[in-house]
Amino acid sequence: MRIVVDYDLCESNALCMTAAPEVFEVRDDDFLYVLQDEPSEELRAKVEEAVRRCPKQAIVIEG
């Protein structure tokens, strides 16, 4: 599973961070940092939840 964020769409709402804090972090500079580009399979449900909760549909899971 590979995570691709479209940073042109991302508005740092940080909803993804609530869903999957292991993978997404919005820091004090208000930018989103992806902590793991290829998280392990056991995080899939959480990452899928992050995809659904992103108001900008900015996250895509590849594979």
Binding site: E11, N13, T18, P55
Partner: protein
């Protein structure tokens, strides 16, 4: 109880997320989705923002699903069809064409419809905004070069329409019956910040003023306000709130009271759950019965209701969250806010329009409001989650700002 056939009424955000969750939890039976709009589920927030300004084409609002394509969910779509009734004893949804759709489990996610100004139905040029088609119609009217657009109601939809229209360089008047915009949602102090934001962008803001009459023969021509002023206008957008879509359930035996009344787990009757803008339930976290008209709630509640339907019934206790984009400002609220709460700015300054404010009631923090401060809103949202006391919350903010 076996759930071979699940029917979802309402083919939008809450309904789609419920369907996804049913499949994610391994439900393999038939799922039929009934929606009265002709479209597959689409996203509404861009309709008052990027679709109006032209930054996003209308067709790009189609909602995606997390795992692959929407077709992989194997849903039976009944689009362009309305549910007109519910036969609870016989477990069937009645469709407009007379058909009966039998179900073992039912998800109701019929959302809400904007209230209209009485006596304007015959007038062209008076719009409300809820659907993709509404947004396309307003966009076309904006493209025709109106002299002035009047927005009636400075709630979130009205404020966003005013901002989008202004961004196109069109003259806008914003009319609000209360003393400030968003007063019911955010209270007087924060509402005043939003009023100034619009004034600074050249919106002609009328506060504490009602609409007396909208005049015109076929098309709208002018609006008379309660302060005696008269505005010449060729496009009016009305944003005076919404009513939950429950007419079709009258007499069904479900309890209706400003929405479908559910228990704490989103259950409205045995085997019947409700979610999204149409549903009211007791949120045990805040000890309050609420109906939430936010995007994020439609998702979370749709998923929660799906789990309840499958037998995994737990109380639904979210900290609500929403955002609104106006000009270059992003307003976000995590938790609750009402005009009766105490409000304190804990970071930044109102004048800079970059700040965070806390809302408190009964000695506890209940809400975190941010303007252009997304990371801090999310960080301090946990204070609402844990039910921190007001003084602890202020101390944490001071220490972690």
């Amino acid at each position: 109880m076996s759930l071979d056939r699940i029917v979802i009424v309402g083919a939008s955000l809450a309904g789609l997320r419920a369907a996804e969750e049913l499949r994610a939890r391994g439900h393999e039976g038939v799922i039929t989705v009934v929606g009265d709009e002709p479209h597959r589920p689409y996203d509404r927030p861009p309709l008052s923002k990027q679709v109006l300004t032209g930054a996003k084409p209308p067709e790009s609002t189609t909602l995606a699903v997390a795992a692959g394509s929407i077709d992989d969910l194997g849903l039976e779509w009944r689009l362009g069809e309305s549910a007109t009734g519910l036969d609870l004893p016989d477990r069937a949804v009645l469709l407009g064409g007379g058909e009966r759709l039998a179900f073992d489990g039912l998800v109701i996610a019929t959302g809400a419809t904007p209230r209209r100004l009485p006596g304007t139905d015959h007038l062209e040029g008076v719009h409300t905004l809820r659907s993709l088609d509404d947004s396309i119609a307003i966009r076309a009217a904006l493209a025709a070069g109106p002299r002035r657009v009047v927005v009636v109601g400075a709630g979130f939809i009205g404020a966003e329409v005013a901002a989008s229209t202004r961004s196109l360089g069109i003259e806008v008047s914003l009319i609000e019956a209360l003393a400030v915009p968003l007063e019911r949602s955010l209270g007087p102090e924060m509402g005043a910040v939003v009023a100034d934001l619009h004034r600074d962008h050249g919106v002609d803001v009328h506060l504490g003023v009602g609409v007396v009459l909208i005049e015109g023969s076929d098309r709208v021509e002018r609006i008379r306000l309660s302060d005696g002023s008269v505005l010449e206008v060729d496009l009016v957008v009305v944003g005076i709130g919404v009513s939950p879509n429950t007419e079709w359930l009258e007499g069904s035996g479900l309890t209706l009271d400003n929405g479908i009344v559910c228990d704490a787990t989103c259950l409205a009757a045995p085997g019947v759950v409700a979610a999204g803008d149409v549903a009211r339930w007791p949120n045990e976290r805040f000890d309050e019965v609420m109906r939430v008209e936010h995007w994020d709630n439609a998702i979370e509640m749709g998923e929660h209701a799906a789990r309840t339907l499958l037998g995994d019934a737990t109380p639904y206790t979210p900290v609500p969250w929403f955002w609104s984009d106006q000009y270059d400002r992003k307003i976000q609220l995590a938790g609750l806010a009402s005009p009766d709460d105490i409000v304190e700015v804990v970071s930044g300054r109102l004048e800079d329009r970059r700040f965070v404010a806390f809302y408190g009631r009964a000695g506890r923090i209940v809400g975190v409001l941010g303007m252009n401060q997304p990371a801090k809103v999310m960080r301090w949202r946990s204070l609402v989650e844990t039910g921190a006391s007001w003084s602890d919350a202020l101390a944490v903010a001071a220490a972690t700002d």
